[in-house]
């Protein structure tokens, strides 16, 4: 089991969700995040004082999947999130040792879906 963490542009969330749904991935968790990467920040100015803002709004998506689903999932995310411009984001894949469904107590591969 793997935990797929993806940072994407906020306004791409709906597209990513749709691509995931198309491929049968229905369980995701989304968190508001701020990121800084290759995408340059921008200058805000408030009452005449310039401020370099380099934390940009991002969406952080977490999807736990069985190993066989990893490729499908990352492909779907990429399809939904890629614009080709800097700031598109990253995907990180981490190992999960165990999964438990709180409602039923099921564990492992059964629990994840």
């Amino acid at each position: 089991m793997k935990l797929i963490i993806a940072y994407i542009q906020p306004y791409k969330l709906n597209d990513v969700k749709q691509e995931l749904f198309k491929d049968g991935i229905h369980k995701i968790s989304v968190t508001n995040s701020k990121g800084c990467g290759q995408q340059k920040g921008f200058t805000e100015s408030y009452r005449g004082v310039e401020t370099e803002v380099n934390l940009l709004d991002k969406m952080r998506i977490e999807i736990a999947v069985n190993d066989s689903f990893v490729k499908k999932t990352t492909d779907a995310i990429i399809r939904g999130a890629r614009t080709g411009a800097i700031g598109d984001g990253k995907i990180f894949i981490l190992p999960i040792e165990e999964t438990i469904r709180i409602r039923s107590g099921e564990t492992g591969e059964e629990a994840i879906g």
Partner: protein
Amino acid sequence: MKKIILPIFLLLGIGTSAFADDASSIELLLSSMDMIWLTLAAALVFFMQAGFAMVEIGLTRPKNAGNIIMKNLMDFAGGSLIFWAVGWAIMYGASYGGFGSNLFLFSEDSSVLRDWIFQVVFAATAATIVSGAMAERTKFNAYLVYSVVISGLIYPVFGSFTWGGGFLNELGFHDFAGSTIVHSVGGWAALMGAIILGPRIGKYIKKDGKVEVKAIPGHNLPLAALGVFILWFGWFGFNCGSTLSGTDLSIAHVAITTTLAASAGAIAAMFTMWISMGKPDVSMSLNGALAGLVGITAGTWAVTPGAAIIIGLLAGIIVVFSVNFIDKKLHIDDPVGAISVHGVCGAFGTIAVGLFANKPDDGLVGLFYGGGAGLLGVQALGVLTGFLWVTITSGILFLIIKKTIGLRVKDHEEIKGLDMEEHGSESYPGFQIFHNV
């Protein structure tokens, strides 16, 4: 004129002898009544700017709130300066000694000044109505240009046909406080603006040849509600002040028809939504109250309280169907419902005068009170004239802006939000905002 000293002065002796001349005192009192009445009414109508701003902010997304503030502040600021320069002269020049002598308000006649302050806030209302329909995608400099032209030209010219004493006035067109003259003028300009701009990104999604209509929910309903309460409060000045005299005893009548129509509008919109959609929708009920207010504005003086309730109920129903029709059928994107509330309900209210008016002494009798279709016809003519004048002129205006400086921001600016792109800052830094739309 120093504080306090003056009134004390008045109280000691000088007063009594000076005021021995009763007739002149009475004259002064009558003038003063008009003076304080219209100034206070003007203050209330001015405050409606805050109401419009809060409604528009509340019903749009957080990334554009600062831009909306700027539009609502600047359409008043620019509008009042241009109305000072030429708008007033166009609209009322004929009644006050000619166009030329009314440019730049050189008059020192207190009654002219009094009328001016009351009129300028109406011009600004007409201008600011448009802001809501064009929210979240209009270039700021384009908006500034538009707002100066409507307050300086489009509104005053139509005003000159009516309140200014022009041909519609002579035909007997009755629009007491401006259902058509103010609200529809704003509403029809909003219509043209929204059409020429096009919808916000993501509002109408084409999918397999069909158009899917999406909701873009407003981000702050409490502010929107506050805005509606402020508008309703301001309407006491808008409608009651339109007696134009503080010694007109019909003021309470106007206040009552205004209040009852607004109440009826809110209730009607709520139940219409409840029945047709299954839930009493908050923002549409707020629109309903405004619809009732706009609807009664033309006839507030001329109809009975009972008729006011009927007008309000109808306006509340109409606004729901109109919003739906414009959104789901015409696919014109009007984030706050300005076209329906001000344009459509303004037209309806003006025509309703032809049906419900009941002031035989003033020759104002509507169809339902046995007055025949004459008044109705004149009212319809006024509505039509307004519609044509505004759609044509504002249409040309928006097209010229589009071809020259551009009317709409770039896509990436719209996505990022106008606050960042047009004004360089955010409106709610600190708050975590879910920016997925």
